[in-house]
Amino acid sequence: MNVVIHLKKYKLVLGGIGMAGSTLEIKNLHVQIEGKKILKGVDLTIKGGEFHAVMGPNGTGKSTLASAIMGHPKYEITEGSVHLDGEDVLEMEVDERARAGLFLGMQYPSEISGVTTSDFLRSSINARREEGDEIPLMKFIKEMDSTLDYLEIDKNMAQRYLNEGFSGGEKKRNEILQLLLLKPEIAILDEIDSGLDIDALKVVSKGINKLRDENFGCLIITHYQRLLNYITPDHVHVMMQGRIVKSGGPELAQRLEAEGYEWIKDELGIEDETVGQNA
């Protein structure tokens, strides 16, 4: 933790000379799970103020990238590095990564019986604060309630057990609720739009856009242009075979929407885009 506090001071100084936000730097990342190679050299840098979209067919390693950055226990890093403002993320425990400023909106959030969403949120907020400096209860309730309103979530949800029996859409809104309350430096959102109806999609996009400023960087994993209609990315990347095979601007996502992935495979001579194949 000392390291992180030191880091924040450092950033303040830098802020004075015109740099803002954090930088997440992924270099040559290789990841395997149960002996199976999945990521085979991912390079990607996300800076505060930037929105990146990662697209790609099923089973090409997108969630693996997100999970490996957050520290999912099943994923083993065999090569490469991840740094947040120069600090080695791979050396940190999962909770330290979160407190250092990372957030992962998960494709499949866990259900936790017996723990109310509200208690969980309060613990998460307090985890980032010093002991003895916990958020006052009333302040917490006010913040939670106004964010619930903002995301058009039924207030009763806060008293329900975390994600237990939540619909797909409710789970996704709950991830965004956490995002807004925890205000990370860098967020990775894995298919935050899947399973959302059109109204929910708008609300979720509104939530993500609310954080958009020079201090917030975001990596959005999605299959659909429709999310990117609401959240315009600065950069779009395509993953195949466990690597980023193509990068571009928002127009790349539009072309994928219109033409699919075949043209990229043709261009790069890829026959099978899944991770089982070697590029």
Binding site: P73, V94, D95, A98, L104, M106, S110, I112, F120, S124
Partner: protein, 435 residues
């Protein structure tokens, strides 16, 4: 089974003990009859737990406890059971074997509610006690420990709610075993007459981590036709006490008994909670949470026995085992022939926090009738690493994440305890036992 049987207490001792308390003659006779059976009867044989080497014979039997004039004289951990801003109107505190404190609201007194120690009840309400004591619920000769209980009964309470009386405010009893070597043979007798209702919550507490003794607690709960009883308990005997705790309910027609029991003892424990659904349309919810630690060995049996038609029994046991603790959870739904349209449901879940802890959940359904429904679920597992990952990904430390998951796991029972301060106290005890 060979067990050290030599009791340090004989006929003369028991006669004297009974006379000192001015007990009615039938009670003294009952004690002496029971004493004779102690040597003849076998020890109980809880399924899958060997209790042959447990201490059931080394203990002292009698001790006085002083009255207290103010609740502030109580040790802090007992005061925690009480909410100072909202002190119970109906509170009973037993210190060793004496009444240290007792209050009951005027309203309840006027309605004929009885909430008094068992010895006073034996003199002042002799007929009522005689009618129910070791009669309909528990029998003297079930095994050696039931007989021993009757022979040496040295504390307890009698709760009686007359017909049609609804007791809104809970009745709270605290059994404080202050003397570290003295055994508690506590007898709790709760009788709710027709169409009455009550909430009763009891707490057991002792501090003998080193000194050895025993507890032998029998609780008989009688719900007459249409009566509703909500029974909460937090047992917190210290590591030196070997426990035999038997809570049994009898529900007559349209009666309901709901149990919410926190089993927080630190010593070896045989625990039994059975409800006999005797009357048609009677029902029972039996919820229990357990935290085992150290080298504790425990055996829990929760049971519903269906005799009446359209009876409902629902058992829910959740246990957390840490260090080298060992626990057996037996959940028994028994439907007798003729108990048509009855429903026996049960769920036992055990969460293991260490490699060396042992937990075993045995779902047992014994059904002697065709037209019934029954279901069971049982699991023994560890904290789900995916849940921890999810919580930690929000910055929560591993310790805190485990704490949340464990509390969540126990919440279905803890949240059902009827008195807020007792609920909080149980949460604190869980906290202390788990970390």
């Amino acid at each position: 089974m060979t067990v050290e049987t030599k009791l340090p207490y004989d006929k003369d001792y028991i006669t004297q003990f009974s006379s000192d308390r001015n007990e009615p003659e039938w009670m003294q006779v009952l004690r002496l009859q029971a004493l004779e059976q102690v040597d003849v009867l076998e020890m109980p044989k809880p399924d899958k737990t060997k209790i042959g080497k447990w201490n059931f014979s080394r203990f002292k039997h009698a001790a006085k406890g002083d009255e207290i004039t103010s609740l502030t004289e109580l040790p802090a951990e007992i005061q925690d059971f009480l909410d100072p801003d909202n002190l119970p109107e109906n509170l009973f505190i037993q210190r060793n074997q004496s009444v240290a404190y007792a209050t009951m609201s005027e309203k309840l007194k006027q309605r004929g509610v009885i909430f008094t120690d068992i010895f006073t009840a034996l003199t002042e309400h002799e007929d009522l006690v005689k009618r129910y004591y070791m009669k309909d619920a528990v029998s003297i000769d079930e095994h050696r420990l039931t007989a021993l209980h009757v022979a040496l009964m040295n504390g307890g309470i009698f709760v009686y709610i007359p017909k049609n009386v609804q007791v809104e405010e809970p009745l709270q009893a605290i059994f404080w075993q202050e003397d570290p070597e003295v055994a508690l043979f506590n007898h709790v007798l709760v009788v709710a007459e027709e169409n009455s209702s009550l909430t009763y919550v009891e707490n057991y507490i002792s501090h003998n981590d080193e000194e050895e003794t025993i507890s032998n607690v029998i609780t008989e709960v009688i719900a007459q036709n249409g009566a509703k009883i909500s029974f909460g308990g937090v047992d917190n005997f210290a590591a030196g006490t070997t426990n035999y705790m038997n809570r049994r309910g009898i529900a007559y027609r349209d009666a309901t008994i709901d149990w919410a029991l926190g089993q927080m003892n630190d010593g070896h424990t045989v625990f039994e909670n059975a409800t006999h659904l005797v009357g048609d349309n009677s029902s029972a919810e039996s919820k229990a949470v357990v935290v085992g630690r150290g080298k504790q060995i425990e055996n829990f049996t929760t049971k519903s026995v269906h005799f009446g038609k359209d009876t409902h029994g629902h058992i829910l046991q959740h246990g957390v085992m840490k260090e080298k603790a060992t626990s057996i959870f037996n959940a028994i739904g028994k439907i007798e022939h003729g108990a048509t349209r009855s429903n026996a449901e049960q769920e036992s879940r055990v969460l293991m926090l260490s490699e060396k802890a042992r937990g075993d959940a045995n779902p047992i359904l014994l059904i002697d009738e065709d037209d019934v429904t029954a279901g069971h679920a049982a699991s023994v597992g560890r904290v789900d690493p995916m849940q921890l990952y999810y919580l930690m990904s929000r910055g929560i430390t591993q310790t805190e994440a485990e704490r949340l998951v464990i509390h969540g796991f126990l919440a279905p029972v803890v949240s059902k305890l009827p008195i807020a301060s007792v609920r909080e106290q149980l949460t604190k005890i869980i906290e202390r036992k788990v970390y």
